[in-house]
C-alpha cells in the first residue's frame, strides 16, 4: 500500500523498536512531525539540538538501545555536530534524522541549507542522503543496523523535504546485507587458545577493561573470568561499572587520573589483557614506556584499534562477550583454583600499593571538599543510581570516588570530553528509567553550557537531581594553569558572575537548594533524593582543589604526582 515518505519514516522507526525520539522541529521537517505526533512513539522536545543528541546518547548508554534524534535542516543539523562527535568517540549507537531542503535546490545555498553529509562524514560511523523515496525504508533499516552492530556508532540520515512528501509502496526489508561491512564477532579459535595459554603461565596479570565490555554487555563474563583466575581488573573511564568497583579485585580506574595501584599494577605486570579498550593517550601515559614488562593480549571488535598506538603480542578480533565466553570454556580444562591461589603474592603487592595512596583527602574545616560530596553520594546511593557527569575535575572525582557496581549506570563523555553533555544525558536516562534515581554531577562551567534543558526536564516532569560543584572556576583548566602555566588563570575564572542557582531552578519551575557547610551536605543530598521533582543542588566548594593522582602528559604511568 502506498505511503508518503513521512509515513514510511514513522513505520520504519516502529519496526526498529523505537519508543522515544528526541527532537526539535523546523521548516524542512514539518510533515515528519505531523506524522510522528500521531504515532505511539514518545516525542521529547528539547531546547537545543545539541541536547537532543546528548539526550539520545544518555538514553542509548543506559538502555543499550539505539538513541533516535530528529532535527531540521541547516542550523538544526549543524547544532547536532558536537553531540554526534561525542557519540562517535565513545561508540554509542544513535540514528540522527536531519531534515534537508528539497533535492532540486541542494547546492544552491538555499534557506537553511547545510551540507550536513559533508560536515559529519568524519564524525559518524556512516551517513546517508536519501534522494529517492523508494530507497527510504531500506536506508533506515541499514542505518539502524550499522548503528547497533559491530563497533556501535552514530549514523546520520539526511531527508530532503520533497523525498518525505513523495509516496511509494511501503515494504520494510526483512534482511539487510552490506557487502562492504561484515564485522567479525567470533574470535579466531587458535588465537583464543593461545590467549588461555598465556594467561595460565602469567605471574602478574592485569585485565585492562574498557567501554567495549559495556557495549558488548559482557560484564557477567568479565566478572567470571576475573574471579575464576583471581586477576585484578583496571578499568578505563568508559569501562567503569563493567566490573563491580566495590570488590577486592577492582583496581579502579587507570590512566592520567587513575588510582595509584591501577597504574603501578599495569607498569609492573607481565601480562596485560586488554578487553574492549583502545590504548588511548589518557590511559597509556608515555607510550614508549607503557607496560614495559608485559605481553599484551588485545580483544576488540574493531581491527583498527588493534596495534594502532601500542604493538600487541596477541590480537583477537571479536565481540568481547563471545570471546570471553570461549576463554571461560577453555579454562574448564585448567586447574584455575591452583592458578588463582598462585597469584596471592601479586594481589598482596597490589594491596601494598593501595596503602601508598588510596584516594585520601582531608575534609576538615569550613570549606566543602568536592571529593566529600561524591563519596557521600556513593554511600547514600550504594552504587545503585544512574550517574551522568559533565567534563572536568568533577568528572574525574566521580570516576575516582563513586564505585560503580553495574554497567550502563555511568554516562560520561570520555573520548571527546564535551562540556554540556551531562544535563541532557541525564534527562535522556530519566526518560528511559522514570523510576530510577538519576543524578547529573556537574561543575558550574559545564552546567551553563546546556542549562536551558531545565525547561525540558520540568516539562516532562523528569525528577533529575543536578548536583553543581561550584568552585567559580573552569577547574581542570585552572589546575593545569596552576601546575604548568605559572598559576596564570587566563580565562578560567567564572565565579565573578555566578547565577543564583536556587533562583534559576525556581525560575524554571524546579526545586533549588544551596549548601555551604560540610555538615549540611548529607542532609541536603537526602532531601534532594527524596523530592519527586527535578532538583538543582548547588554546593559551594573549595575553590582550588586539584585532582590527584596525576600523570603529567608525556610521563610514564608510574610517575604519578600524588600531591
Amino acid at each position: 500500500m502506498k505511503k508518503t515518505g513521512g509515513q514510511i519514516v514513522v513505520e520504519s522507526l516502529k519496526r526498529e523498536g523505537v519508543d522515544t525520539v528526541f527532537n526539535y522541529p523546523g521548516g524542512a521537517v514539518l510533515s515528519l512531525f505531523h506524522e510522528l505526533d500521531q504515532s505511539s512513539m514518545r516525542q521529547i522536545l528539547v531546547r537545543h539540538e545539541q541536547a537532543a543528541v546528548h539526550a539520545a546518547d544518555g538514553y542509548a548508554r543506559c538502555t543499550g538501545k539505539v538513541g533516535v534524534v530528529l532535527v531540521t535542516s541547516g542550523p538544526g543539523a549543524t547544532n547536532t555536530v558536537t553531540g554526534i562527535a561525542t557519540a562517535h568517540m565513545d561508540s554509542i549507537p544513535l540514528v540522527i534524522l536531519t531534515g534537508q531542503i528539497p533535492t532540486p535546490l541542494i547546492g544552491n545555498d538555499a534557506f537553511q541549507e547545510a551540507d550536513i553529509i559533508g560536515i559529519t562524514r568524519p564524525c559518524t560511523k556512516h551517513n546517508f542522503l536519501v534522494k529517492d523515496v523508494r530507497e527510504l525504508a531500506k536506508t533506515i533499516k541499514e542505518a539502524f543496523y550499522i548503528a547497533r552492530s559491530g563497533r556501535p556508532g552514530p549514523v546520520l540520515v539526511d531527508l530532503p523535504k520533497d523525498v518525505i512528501a513523495n509516496s511509494t509502496e511501503f515494504k520494510y526489508p526483512e534482511k539487510v546485507f552490506i557487502r562492504g561491512y561484515q564485522p567479525t564477532y567470533e574470535g579466531h579459535p587458535g588465537q583464543v587458545q593461545r590467549a588461555v595459554d598465556l594467561m595460565i603461565k602469567s605471574k602478574r596479570p592485569v585485565i585492562y577493561a574498557g567501554g567495549g565490555i559495556v557495549s558488548s554487555n559482557a560484564s557477567k563474563e568479565l566478572t567470571l573470568l576475573a574471579e575464576r583466575l583471581g586477576i585484578p581488573v583496571a578499568m578505563t573511564l568508559m569501562g567503569l561499572g563493567g566490573f563491580p568497583g566495590n570488590t577486592p579485585l577492582s583496581l579502579g580506574m587507570l590512566g592520567m587520573h587513575g588510582t595509584y595501584r591501577a597504574n603501578m599494577a599495569v607498569m609492573e605486570s607481565d601480562l596485560l589483557i586488554a578487553i574492549g579498550s583502545r590504548f588511548d593517550d589518557r590511559v597509556t601515559g608515555k607510550i614508549e614506556a607503557f607496560a614495559p614488562q608485559a605481553k599484551i593480549i588485545h580483544i576488540d571488535i574493531d581491527p583498527t584499534s588493534i596495534s594502532k598506538n601500542v604493538r600487541v603480542d596477541l590480537p583477537i578480533v571479536g565481540d568481547c562477550k563471545r570471546v570471553i565466553a570461549k576463554i571461560l570454556t577453555l579454562l574448564e580444562e585448567e586447574d584455575t583454583q591452583a592458578y588463582r591461589e598462585g597469584l596471592g603474592k601479586w594481589r598482596h603487592q597490589i594491596e601494598r600499593w593501595k596503602a601508598v595512596h588510596n584516594m585520601d583527602y582531608q575534609q576538615k574545616g569550613d570549606l566543602i571538599k568536592p571529593q566529600y560530596i561524591i563519596e557521600k553520594i556513593n554511600e547514600l546511593t550504594r552504587g545503585d543510581a544512574i550517574i551522568a557527569t559533565e567534563v572536568g575535575q568533577h568528572q574525574m572525582w566521580t570516576a575516582q570516588y563513586y564505585a560503580f557496581t553495574k554497567p550502563r549506570t555511568f554516562l560520561t563523555s570520555g573520548g571527546l570530553g564535551t562540556m554540556g553533555y551531562g544535563l541532557p544525558a541525564a534527562l535522556g536516562a530519566q526518560v528511559a528509567f522514570p523510576n530510577k534515581l538519576v543524578i547529573d554531577i556537574s561543575g558550574d562551567g559545564s552546567f551553563q553550557m546546556n542549562s536551558q534543558e531545565l525547561a525540558t526536564i520540568v516539562q516532562y516532569q523528569l525528577p533529575v537531581k543536578v548536583v553543581i560543584l561550584n568552585n567559580g572556576f573552569l577547574g581542570m583548566v585552572r589546575q593545569w594553569q596552576e601546575l604548568f602555566y605559572e598559576k596564570r588563570y587566563a580565562s578560567s575564572s567564572i565565579g565573578e558572575v555566578s547565577p543564583d542557582y536556587v533562583k534559576l531552578a525556581e525560575a524554571y519551575g524546579a526545586v533549588g537548594l544551596q549548601v555551604r557547610r560540610p555538615e549540611d551536605v548529607v542532609p541536603a543530598l537526602k532531601k534532594a533524593f527524596s523530592i519527586p521533582k527535578p532538583v538543582i543542588l548547588e554546593f559551594i566548594v573549595d575553590r582550588e582543589e586539584n585532582v590527584y593522582p596525576m600523570v603529567v602528559a608525556g610521563e610514564p604511568l608510574n610517575q604519578m604526582r600524588l600531591v
Binding site: 559533508g118 562524514r121 568524519p122 560511523k125 552490506i178 557487502r179 562492504g180 581491527p303 596495534s307 594502532k308
Partner: protein, 165 residues
Amino acid sequence: MRHVITLLVENEFGVLARIAGLFSGRGFNIESLCVAETLDPAVSTMTLVTRGDDMIIEQVLKQLNKLIPVIKVVDLFEKDFVEREMILVKVNATRETREEILRVSEIFRGKVVDVGAKTYTLEVTGDENKVRAILNLLKPLGIKELVRTGRVAMLRGSKASTEPS
C-alpha cells in the same frame, strides 16, 4: 615505503570524498588516486598510492576496510602486479632539440599528440620506472607542462585482484 593499494568500492554518491577525507583526517598521504567504474556499474575500482612505515600502512588498510562502501582492499606491496600510468608532457622544442625529443619519444614508444610553434606534447604510458626515466631525459630540454593520470594496477595471474572473496 611506497604502497600501491587497489580498492573495490560501491559506486555511490560521496565515496571518493569519504576516502579522501579519511586520508586527510588521519594525516595519511595520497601520492596519487585513480578511480573509475568497472564492468559492473554499481562498483568502482580505485588505485591509490601512499607511503608510510609498517604501522601506518597497517592502519591505512584497516581504516579503509572499516569504511562501509569499501568492499575489498588489496595491498599490492611485494606482490606481482602490472602497473601503468599515462602522462601528457609538453616539452620546449627548438630547432636544435626537436630531433632529440622525437628520438626519445620513439625509444619510449610515446606518441606526439600536439605540435606547437615552440613545443611538442607527448603522450607516454608506462610503469613507474619508465615514466621517471623519460621525464629525467626531457627535463634538461625544458618541460613546460606535465599532467599525470596516477597509477592503475592489477595483480598478475588468473585471479582478479579485487574479486570479492
